[in-house]
């Protein structure tokens, strides 16, 4: 196994070990605290918080994927081509709005908690998936499409059997990017009472406890990196069939 795989495995093990039995790591974090503050976050279960954050991110990613892919398919059809410039502009705007601002603005509409975080993550995650869907569908080799049409596949069959499978690597790439960025962004949700590792970090900021900040930050960072690698491996497995000359 390569060095990278060893590193990955070690990181994953470390993460699981820490989440399963955080108190065991207390001696490691103790030097970072002052005045006898608790070295390990004790106002909630770290594992549950991590899972909650992951859950929020995945839910938002699912919503982003459905909307972005559907929109991408729509605007690459002849009937929907007129909406391409507008959709592109809108999705771009969604990415330009800082997630914090989106969060702050949606709170009065939907209240505190998970909902504004989901909305902010949804808007922020659309662009990579949308752009990649469009590029993937548009760069389908024209001869393959011509042959498919010539063989008697209807438009829907062409989409399902040829265009989407060939665009899949790019679409999955976009989803992966969107997911991983959002894992880190989701920590902001804790400022509006969403359950996640952000509250560990904020508790640390409020009580000047660097140990808490590190725990929240490192667990999130590790989750993001491991997710990135896991999804890359999944992508390679799924897309092994698609190769161009």
């Amino acid at each position: 196994m390569s060095a990278a795989t060893w590193l990955r495995g070690a990181a994953a093990l470390l993460l699981v070990a820490f989440l399963a039995a955080p108190q065991r790591f207390a001696p490691l974090f103790a030097p970072l605290t002052e005045y006898g503050a608790p070295p390990i976050y004790d106002q909630g279960n770290l594992a549950l918080l991590a899972l909650a954050q992951l859950g929020t991110v995945c839910l938002a990613a699912a919503a982003s994927t459905i909307v972005a892919v559907a929109l991408g398919i729509l605007v690459t059809r002849p009937s929907g081509a007129q909406f391409l410039p507008l959709s592109r502009t809108l999705v771009n705007i969604g990415q330009t709005f800082p997630p914090v601002a989106v969060l702050a603005v949606t709170v009065p509409l939907v209240g505190f908690g998970e909902k504004p975080t989901l909305i902010a993550l949804f808007a922020y995650g659309l662009l990579p998936i949308f752009e990649n869907t469009i590029t993937g569908l548009k760069t389908c080799p024209p001869q393959v499409l011509e042959a498919a049409a010539g063989m008697g596949m209807s438009a829907r069959q062409r989409l399902r059997a040829v265009e989407l499978p060939l665009a899949m690597p790019l679409i999955l790439e976009g989803i992966r990017l969107s997911l991983v960025i959002n894992v880190g962004t989701a920590t902001i949700g804790s400022t509006v009472a969403a359950k996640g590792l952000g509250e560990v970090i904020i508790a640390g900021l409020l009580s000047n406890n660097t140990a808490f900040i590190l725990q929240g930050g490192l667990v999130t960072g590790l989750m993001a990196i491991l997710l990135y690698d896991a999804l890359a491996a999944l992508e390679r497995r799924v897309c092994r069939r698609v190769q161009f000359d």
């Binding site: 393959v144 008697g152 059997a161 040829v162």
Partner: protein
Amino acid sequence: MITIESLTKVYGTTTVVDDVSMAVDRNSITAIVGTSGSGKSTLLRMINRLVEPTAGRVLLDGSDTRNEPAHLLRRRIGYVIQGHGLFPHRTVAENIATVPRLLGWQPARIRARVEELLRVFQLDPGAYADAFPHQLSGGQQQRVGVARALAAEPAVLLMDEPFGALDPIIRAKAQEDLLDIQRRFGTTIVLVTHDMDEAFRLGGQVAVMSAGKLLQYDRPAVLLTRPADPFVSRLTGVADRALKLLSLTTAGEAALPGGCEGPQVAASVSLREVLSELVWSGARAAAVLGADGTPSGHLTVAAILARGRP
């Protein structure tokens, strides 16, 4: 089998195909030739309605092709393009099985058909059925493309410059294979090409197109001896037309009875090759061998030269 009636296609202000009418016989190979922009590909694609005509209609076995949805029509017609268009994400077997699956064939029947076609195209099913297109050579990919088009046993096969991307040696073999396939399956083939030699080699009938109009539609020999238009003779080539004419007749067809001394040629070779052999060897006559290898006739230089004139 295929009747094209006054087919016209206009894009904006450009007339790409101009009032073309022709009839293609069953169980034949028809070649459509012309320079780039002559409208030959567009004409071909109007047969399977990848391009919808502006005017005119196409009758397939007597019925108008517009009577059914386009994609259903195309499942009954084989279509091969330059660059083959194989699905990169599917195996060779899955590629070939595409139209049979669309038509709802039984899996056992599909499997049998795939194996049969692979064998016909000299690709060992064990080695190639589960391979992916990018693992095959250019020539093999082209063969799979044709196999895929024939999978559902269509009565008609449309081919658009199918051999254009192949190098000369493989191309000659591929052309021979096509003649074999046609004889074996009895498919009606319409082939578009810009290569005159290929058209003459393969086509029982050749249609010459220029600027959207059909200039002449006849047997190759007639195109050579009685061109309807100066462009036709320019296309077929005036410089070596006699030799081209000779290449259209085989030794067997022109042989005179009786044997002779001299080089031996098979009955299947063209008169052009016999002449070349006689010039090279310096002899004045050649013996023609039948299929079993025994002499079945002879050819003199004079007899050959006589065939080279209209």
